[in-house]
């Protein structure tokens, strides 16, 4: 237990570093896998909202399904937040983050 107490500040520090807003890293909208939304529906949402060709929408959907998540957009933070809200409107779970280093 003593070890865990020692380890905690390290973890906190790392979390804080993650949240430092770095101006040169773009923001991303990430869609996460869930056991509820149908593959056909997720593909449709990507085509309808992002205007993607079927093959690209399916590639992203499969990435969500197989890898657990996929970056569906990258750019300014406000735009990424708008995309995340749009995904939530369809019932997909999306988050916003800065591109990992």
């Amino acid at each position: 237990m003593g070890m865990m107490a020692l380890a905690t500040p390290d973890l906190d520090e790392r979390t804080d570093l993650d949240q430092v807003v770095s101006p040169d890293r773009p923001w991303q909208t990430v869609v996460w896998d869930d056991p509820v939304n149908l593959m056909s529906y997720v593909t449709h949402v990507f085509r309808e909202y992002f205007g993607l060709p079927r093959a690209e929408a399916e590639r992203l959907m499969l990435q969500v399904h197989n890898d657990g998540h996929a970056v569906v957009a990258e750019g300014a933070r406000e735009r990424m937040e708008a995309h995340a809200q749009a995904m939530h409107d369809y019932g997909l779970w999306a988050t916003v983050r800065q591109a990992p280093q």
Partner: protein
């Protein structure tokens, strides 16, 4: 060129059940607040950030609009079902199994799609489906959930290419 109309064909009994579900869903959303702690409502306005504070700020800004959209969509679905859903109390009435057709313009079809998806999310939360293996096709409690999935899949296919 006239907009593409999607025709949903279902038994009158199905329409009646679906209307009941949509009304329950509308009630849940009606009674919910943007700061709701019900996990089923939270699934409709999920965390957009890992960071708790940022997620809450985002939710404060968006949950009101998102829940309003759920209400508006559910109202569209209820409205399109209103004519076909009334059924008699007699379980032997053959009219229960008669097929009815619901014609949906593209805008209504999308409201249907989002509503079926949202109701599935609420049911999944209530059924405790957090992992794919939680979904049990043989468990009768999952029947409505699977039926909604079947209908949603059919609707997505009928809507087809969203760019057309």
């Amino acid at each position: 060129m006239s907009p593409r109309v999607v025709v949903m064909e279902l038994a009158r009994l199905e329409a009646a059940h679906l209307l009941g579900l949509v009304q329950q869903f509308a009630e849940l959303v009606e009674e919910s607040a943007p700061d709701d702690s019900d996990p089923a409502v939270l699934r409709l306005v999920p965390d957009a950030y890992d960071d708790e504070k940022a997620a809450q700020e985002f939710r404060d800004l968006t949950a009101g609009d998102l829940l309003q959209r759920r209400r508006a969509d559910a109202a569209v679905v209820a409205d399109t079902l209103a004519d076909v859903a009334p059924i008699s109390d007699d379980p032997a009435d053959p009219a229960l199994h008669a097929q009815v057709q619901i014609r949906l313009d593209p805008e209504r079809a999308r409201a249907w799609m989002r509503t079926l998806a949202a109701i599935r999310l609420v049911l999944a939360t209530r059924l405790g489906i957090a992992q794919p293996e939680d979904d049990d096709p043989d468990d009768p409690r999952f029947g409505i959930y699977h039926w909604l999935g079947y209908r949603l899949d059919g609707l997505v296919e009928a809507i087809g290419d969203p760019q057309q």
